[in-house]
Amino acid sequence: MTILTQLKEQITAQLPKLDMVIGWERGYDALHATPLFMRSVEDVERLQIGPLAVHNTATYLTGLKNKKVGLVVKGCDSRAVIQLQQEGLINRENVVVFGFPCDGVVDLTKLRHHIGDIGRVKEVKASSSELQLTLDGQEQQVTLADVLADKCTRCRFPNALVHDHFAGAPREAHAASDDYADVQAFESQPLEARFEHWKQEMSRCIRCYACRNACPMCVCRDHCVAQSRDPHWVTQEDAVREKWLFQVIHAMHLAGRCVECGECQRACPVDIPILALKRKLNKEIKEVFNHDAGVDPNAIPPLLSFQVEEENINERGW
């Protein structure tokens, strides 16, 4: 039995007890999957998994309070469930998690680098090692490893870390640890160059806040500091200063909470590489508190707790 068939059976069996189960289905074309809200057995038939099922299903959880929700999750999605549970933002009893072993997902921006315009792809066949695309009447092969999202190439948790049902056999992780080599490489540049990088990247931001709304940990939503009129913390101008301020606030609020699912960056319509900001803060949290967000349901995020003396902060030596 394939993993998908097994998942469908598990979901069908649980569906009568749930308001909905969230997974993925084919979107408006062969290259785009889209979140699927399953409420009936017919809906379950449309379920798809695989390298195009990019969205983090846990993003919807906090908007569905008081509902019984089933979630189909990849490893990174499951970390968001754990993190939300740690912070008391969801009632775990109302959530039924369907896990499966994830082979990684495609970064469509990377795919664009390989095949050019991705807007005219007519057919996609995915195997565990490559994508076969039909574009302008021609078939093209792309090696999956070349277009995997960066988060997948360093993935430590391909299997759902928390699950009530699991389909298939757990797979091995790509990596045993994350050395934040990308962050270190960026940090080796002079301060001016780094600031210039962000000024340029942020200049095309359209302030749509897709990064915020796609983030499973961004839970203020309708009351966000970026749009609050009273107090009016951030102006409504189309200025790099304001856009940058928001990104810094966003990153700070996610320190030690960000599960690095990369949804902020994937959602950005103008491809601003903003996951780097969150990774930088997670790197600091790892060094100071040895904490990984969304791994252990019983852990407490370091910035949500208090100790008179932190082990790795030499307060008295200053």
């Binding site: 302030r207 749009q227 189309d238 319509p269 103008v270």
Partner: protein, 356 residues
């Protein structure tokens, strides 16, 4: 109109250099992994091969603009008395938008009916609109998300443009559509192109054929209105929406704005900035009441505005140019075509027969 012209590929940069010497030229430029309209700098590469990630909307309708500046002045004799001095700020710059697609230029026709209407005239919009010229490139290949032919347009539609360029193997056929466009054809870099124009016309017609049968969204006007109170329908179609504003800010026809006073001590600016109906604050009233409290209410407005309320006010014209950016740039691939089609096919549940 003037006779059709032709610009060879190897002369395009020189022509842009020439044009940018007399006016601001906005052209699609690669920034990171996106293509956005940016001020053209002589010699720079322009990305004309694909539809830009963001449309040229901000050329006429900036993401934020000062409506006025103000200074507060305290009376030294009576500190309780404060005067305010206002400074108007309309300063349009002659602008050429080069390399937009027909949908991007046509979007402003939807704006015109609102900001240049019989009842209201928006001086800021009008000044910029008047100062802007569009040299548009016809699409010979369309993307999966494109549906301009279903909203009264076509991949070679020149409506709303001043010049229409059609890509050929060795260059572009250049045809004037308006007097403003004609005035740009004086360059010696342009060759005569009557034959090229005939070839271009055939290519444009083929591109339209390649798009297949258009959808008829006409019936949506009444159907969407009939669904106004059916929140079950709207909750269903908006379930996956994450209620960000990417669709509206990337839309060439979305024209809603917010006005805020941005103060700094005794001076300040009254800023008009893009706003969007996907945002909770959009309809949040001072009392704290919000008539559109959920994303279902908000998505209903976006779809309804484009395919029902606007057409009802403007001779059936749909407030959508079919560029497909709201579909292809949506983080969760919400497809407005699918929602409108569902609405048109929706049959209200049969009312149970009254007690016999």
């Amino acid at each position: 109109m003037a006779e059709a012209k032709f610009i060879a590929n190897d002369k395009l940069t020189a022509w842009l250099d020439e044009l940018s010497a007399t006016m601001r030229v906005l052209a699609p430029a690669r920034q990171g992994d996106a293509v956005v309209f940016a001020p053209y700098v002589a010699g720079q590469n322009v990305e004309l091969g694909q539809e830009a990630t963001a449309p040229p909307k901000s050329a006429v309708f900036p993401a934020s603009e000062d409506l006025l500046r103000y200074d507060y002045r305290k009376n030294p004799e009576d500190l309780g008395q404060v005067d305010v001095e206002l400074f108007p700020t309309i300063t349009p710059e002659p602008t050429l938008v080069f390399g937009s697609r027909p949908c991007g230029a046509r979007g402003f026709l939807i704006f015109d009916r609102v900001y240049d209407g019989a009842k209201y005239k928006d001086p800021y919009y009008l000044a910029r609109r008047e100062a802007t010229v569009f040299a548009t490139i016809a699409c010979l290949q369309t993307e999966n998300a494109c549906f301009c032919h279903s909203v009264g347009s076509a991949p070679g539609d020149a409506t709303g443009s001043d010049l229409l360029l059609t890509p050929l193997d060795d260059g572009y056929a250049v045809e004037a559509v308006s007097k403003k466009g004609e005035a740009l054809l004086g360059s010696s870099l342009l060759a005569a192109g009557k034959k090229k124009a005939a070839q271009a016309k055939k290519l444009r017609e083929q591109a339209l054929k390649d798009m297949g049968e258009p959808q008829d969204f006409g019936p949506a006007k009444d159907k969407l209105l009939a669904l106004f109170d059916d929140m079950g329908f709207w909750e269903d179609v908006s379930a996956k929406c994450i209620s960000c504003g990417a669709c509206t800010y990337l839309c060439p026809t979305c024209y809603c704005f917010n006005i805020t006073d941005e103060n700094a001590g005794l001076t300040g600016r009254r800023v008009r900035s893009w706003d969007n109906c996907m945002s909770f604050q959009f309809t949040l009233e001072a009392s704290g009441h919000n008539p559109r409290p959920t994303k279902a209410h908000r998505l209903k407005n976006r779809v309804g505005h484009k395919f029902s309320y606007y057409p009802a006010l403007h001779e059936g014209i749909i407030a959508c140019c079919g560029c497909g950016r709201c579909i292809k740039s949506c983080p969760v691939s919400v497809d407005i075509r699918e929602i409108v089609t569902k609405a048109m096919a929706h049959e209200p549940p049969a009312v149970e027969e009254a007690a016999k």
